[in-house]
Symmetry: C3
């Protein structure tokens, strides 16, 4: 029997998260919790059932015992997570992995992960909690992806690459084998990363160069 | 039971179109209509059965009621389409989608589409008629692809990208989220598109820059 | 019944080669032959059974009749192959193709090939012996890949591209249709190849330029 879950976030991420969850067929989505959308609104066939601050009441009313944060910004995913855990320290998060996702031997998957169609996680990879992987992201053997990081469509991480917490490697980037990208760093689309990058920078180009520093909690999505 | 179709075009596109159709297993190809190849010639196991101007006779003789235009040039696909419809306004076109192609929720697929192995169409995408998608093209959520456009192998269109009619986004291009590429525009291989592009230009580079203007019906394939 | 094979090489290539072989389910790996790892050591659950110079004895002891060379360097794969064949001219090599690999019509596959998850070989391609294809390599129609060549993750070879023996096209490279890359040539990560490249060079960039010449047997992996 499918277990009931709730989704936190009614924005851009919702549509494809629902697509993944429906195809995976493991969970029944009882509704969406969002801070902006009107309660009762129907988004892609699912109802906005309330606000996050009423989570305990909603759990009783809708009978779910786990959830998934369907929000694209890496720092906001953490903020939502922290607020949930403050209310309900044992609240459980699930993964949404498109059925086409390939996971090799010895891959350690965290929780709260979303991986879209065509992602490949090669043997020995360690994938942090609340990470997001867009269409066709390719994670080579023995990579380590920090919590709340995101890897965009078509991006290729070479073997033994490490990505820090909250970092965003955007569309169709190539990161050469054995490099480390620090925390809260953003790599611009189409970049070729040939040297390791520190924490808290924006870098892009071919090869990628550091363009400027970044603040903690700075947003990277438009 | 498989329905009978005919293919229009005996050139470079034919081999992989046949591969897709055979694997999809929905259609029986009764033959190829081509303006150059000798009638009776066997191409990849299928016979050239005649010229397009004799379509009505060929339909009776070979018993097909639909077809697919297997030609790479975007403008020539339109010219063939228009000539067919002038003769037979109700002629029907089918799609050829490799079994590995992934189509998300709420995707609107037109007709006459060819999509090669590994293509991914994410939720909310609108895909025009007589479009062509080469190996592993990744169409993110809510993209709109105009009629007779083509997206080459490994190319990644970010979310909400719009591609105009007849435009060709070539090999391994990255188009950043929410940009628009006009009609009859060609984006060169490996480009990173960071700003919207107008109609009737050739652009390439990283980031892509407009190199020159393009004529209507100008060919882009060598 | 699965046939018994041995793997030559206990380094970086071993983990994902085992992953492929286990998922493919055609072969039973009786052990690993390596020149450095201690005999009796267990690597990813498989035992190092001996040295290559004792191959005849090991065949009798472990009952295998075929093998696969699981080494990343293109020249070393050849050196190992040649030493094996000198001892046992009829020794047989198998392929390891991840179950997700797509092979089109009229593709000619050699022997001793490793292809990781998501690779696509389009119709008409000719794939040489002892070649290696990393995650998601896309080989378009009618390509020809020389013996001992390697194509890294996410790399896209356009239609009718030819790659010479021992050459390495590294991560996320784009090679435009109908170009030829010579023998023992290395193309750096993220490059766009717009002109054919001769034998024995290192080239990279966008577009790729020749950076320096290369010696025969020069290594390209760090």
């Amino acid at each position: 029997m499918k277990s009931n879950i709730v989704l936190f976030g009614g924005g851009n991420h919702l549509q494809y998260s629902l697509d993944i969850i429906e195809r995976e067929g493991k969970y029944n989505v009882v509704g969406i919790i969002d801070s902006v959308q009107p309660i009762g609104a129907i988004l892609f066939g699912y109802k906005v059932i309330g606000r996050q601050e009423n989570l305990s009441v909603l759990i009783t009313e809708y009978g779910f015992d786990a959830g998934l944060i369907t929000v694209g910004d890496n720092w906001i995913r953490m903020a939502i997570h922290d607020a949930i855990i403050e209310q309900l320290p044992n609240f459980r998060f699930v993964n949404a992995l498109h059925p086409s996702v390939i996971i090799g031997n010895n891959v350690q998957m965290g929780t709260g992960i979303i991986a879209m169609a065509g992602c490949i996680f090669n043997p020995g990879a360690k994938v942090g909690d609340f990470t997001f992987f867009a269409t066709g992201a390719q994670i080579e053997h023995d990579c380590e992806i920090g919590d709340y990081a995101s890897i965009s469509a078509g991006t290729i991480l070479g073997g033994h690459v490490k990505i820090g917490k909250f970092s965003a490697v955007t569309l169709n980037v190539t990161v050469v084998d054995r490099l480390t990208i620090g925390e809260n760093t953003v790599v611009g689309a189409g970049s070729l990363v040939t040297k390791s990058l520190p924490d808290n920078v924006l870098a892009y180009g071919m090869p990628a160069k550091i363009i400027r520093s970044r603040e903690a909690r700075e947003r990277f999505l438009k």
